[in-house]
Symmetry: C4
């Protein structure tokens, strides 16, 4: 039966195989405070497979055998062609799965979901300052150059305004899918969507891009919270 369970999909000596990389990333995200208390997650798409961290496990203790694998036939296959081809029997699949897939539909190779407190605080400050319809905006900070202008458009410039849309949270994570996809349509150049009172989804062409973009955004959210405490505006027009 072992073969039917497709264990070989998560067994590799290559340290950069998705099944080895996801646990290593989750351990690092734990020490960054992004996946405290089993919150958050990460997923990698490679060829015709999507690898996903399970729900509910201690992220810093995750192992490659805990990884779920979804078949992800390359373009032109209907979404229905996607199905779990490896499910660890003792674990639940991540409720983030449809959200990760929404990023992969747009061409992403990796998607990260964090519960970073800086992200949560920024969503609350934006609502307080500008209302529920507003997105997060910041400009004229060097680290903005770590975020792409849009798919295949190069990186933002120092004087550009970075805009990250914010969607409202829902009681069930999978119910975020519709509003996440809507935000992706309204902001076709964004590489991230904030979720109010919850956290953020960040994606990129590959693991290195998704991770460094997530780091750059988290840096900007932390800076923005500290700027607000010090009475400093987030953009030059105040």
């Amino acid at each position: 039966m072992a073969d039917q369970k497709n264990d070989h999909l998560v067994q590799s000596d290559d340290p950069d195989h998705p099944a080895n990389l996801i646990p290593r990333l989750c351990k690092q995200f734990y020490s960054l405070g992004w996946v405290t208390g089993t919150g958050g997650g990460a997923s990698i798409r490679k060829d015709e497979h999507v690898y996903i961290a399970p729900s509910g496990v201690q992220k810093e203790l995750m192992r490659s055998e805990n990884i779920f694998v979804l078949s992800y036939p390359t373009p032109k296959y209907p979404p229905s062609a996607r199905q779990y081809i490896r499910k660890p029997l003792d674990l639940k699949p991540s409720a983030c799965t449809p959200l990760f897939l929404a990023a992969f539909e747009r061409g992403a190779g990796c998607c990260i979901h964090t519960h970073s407190q800086w992200a949560v605080l920024v969503t609350l400050l934006v609502e307080k300052l500008h209302g529920k319809e507003a997105c997060f905006e910041i400009s004229d900070i060097e680290q903005i150059k770590g975020i792409p202008k849009g798919p295949a458009k190069g990186m933002l410039g120092f004087h550009d305004t970075l805009r990250i849309p914010i969607i409202e949270n829902t009681p069930f994570e999978e119910d975020l899918t519709e509003s996440l996809e809507k935000a992706m349509e309204l902001y076709p150049d964004t590489c991230a969507v904030l979720v109010r009172r919850h956290g953020i989804y960040v994606w990129g062409d590959n693991v290195a891009k998704a991770k460094t973009q997530c780091e750059s955004l988290d840096y900007l959210f932390q800076l923005a919270v500290e700027m607000h405490k010090l009475g400093l505006p987030w953009t030059l027009r105040g």
Copy 2:
């Protein structure tokens, strides 16, 4: 005499044996700032034994031979049946012992006690804002979903209000037992009790649950302190 000392109770090659797990957890709690300066502690119940971190040692340097073991006959035995069956001669048992046992009486498999500054600050802010009788309340934050509704009741929902009771500190830790048990009766669904100007006790069915619940609560306390600094209320009704 070695056998009388019951050293075999804390000797195991299994990294997840309680006598190996408690030192590993304490080291991790030290790096989280939860057990600074010998403060705090942890205890695990397994079958008919309770394993307890000793008092007064540097938590990040604890070793399995430092662990106290208490006999804990399964249900229907009177509390008097509990007694130390392994006492490291050079160490003092933890003053938290009766508090850990109160959690085990309610079915917990692991109990964690931290001196987290976020927990202490929250107890002070609640008193300042709502008086000594008030409990800590927060709602509409995703991380709340990391806390159970109550024993065997599933997890809290995003819109639910998390309530953690707060008891007053006493000069001697063991004297907290009565008010802790009273808080457990008043809040039969809680998995934690805050101690004003002191810290928190968090418990769960097993080590993974106690630890991730403790992490989720600490996340929420830190967020609440930062929200207060930014003038953001902890619940939607303010």
Copy 3:
């Protein structure tokens, strides 16, 4: 000549030998932010020797061969009997040496000096709130129980007021000796002296006590700064 250099004094397979312990402590203090940029230091007295971290080295990279050793004849010898019996040729002795010795005169076995920002901020807040003559005072916080009442007097109680004297900084560290000794006379029960705009000296009977007392004090200083930001007084009388 090797023997004249007394290299054997810092060569030991025992991980807890002072020459091995000081580098390990300094590495840990570096990660706590206590000895940033070569600031701070540590010293251990053992039998008739005093071991001291050198001046100016990167504290996280210190090695046992960098340690200075001072002869420290047990009681009734005049201070003049103290002299360096091992001096690494390429390093300068610590300017903290006379301050460490002042602690050893009072019976300490270990003395730690940090540049912790929490300590520095507390000295500035006390001056602003109560003037230059005031000491730091805090009460009714559990962590206070991690600080001794005085030599051989047991630990402070929860309701006791912890008082740490503050001395003014001087351009040359060794010139602090007189005021440090004066503070020790005025506060014969203290295990620490704060230095305004500089940091703190903490000592204890042995390494474990000095370190955990230093941790407890740093915890209390950080808590005090955060309490001040939140408008919470440090003692019940405000």
Copy 4:
């Protein structure tokens, strides 16, 4: 072709060879929050070579084979004599290169560039408090003694005022070179230049000095931000 690529320039068993040291430093800087999201960098000059961290890589994962090498003929050669003699084919050279070289022209042996949030916040606070022409000033803090008075002039004293010039950021990092060099002329004794809304460049005679000076400055920036939050002035005259 391997020899033409000059791979031997970055291959050494010596852990302190620049090609081994830069990756180790970058990993440490990552954990300090200085080079988040591929930001920042470091360069070492040794004999007739300059070693430079590449652009755009995850700094905590850098390897010695990623290092660029520039020929740097000792004095009296024109700047045109400098050229890359080792370029990893899959990487881009750092845009910081001309800025690092400006430091080496002044005799530095190592130059570090960070995106530290404390540095960024300090540049914003100085502008808000004193205008765009002002430099950062702080005095009467012990850690100031970790910064040199100027080349071959010894270290600053406790009562001295540390001054760090601030230049305006530009959309392209290499365009900072002119204003950086101008700041170096106006402040011939400085070992660092802050870049508004961006970060800092810090240099020193060697790696140990550049790194510990960078740590001391970052400590002072963090302290200054916290002092400002608490209403405490940065110099005694307010």
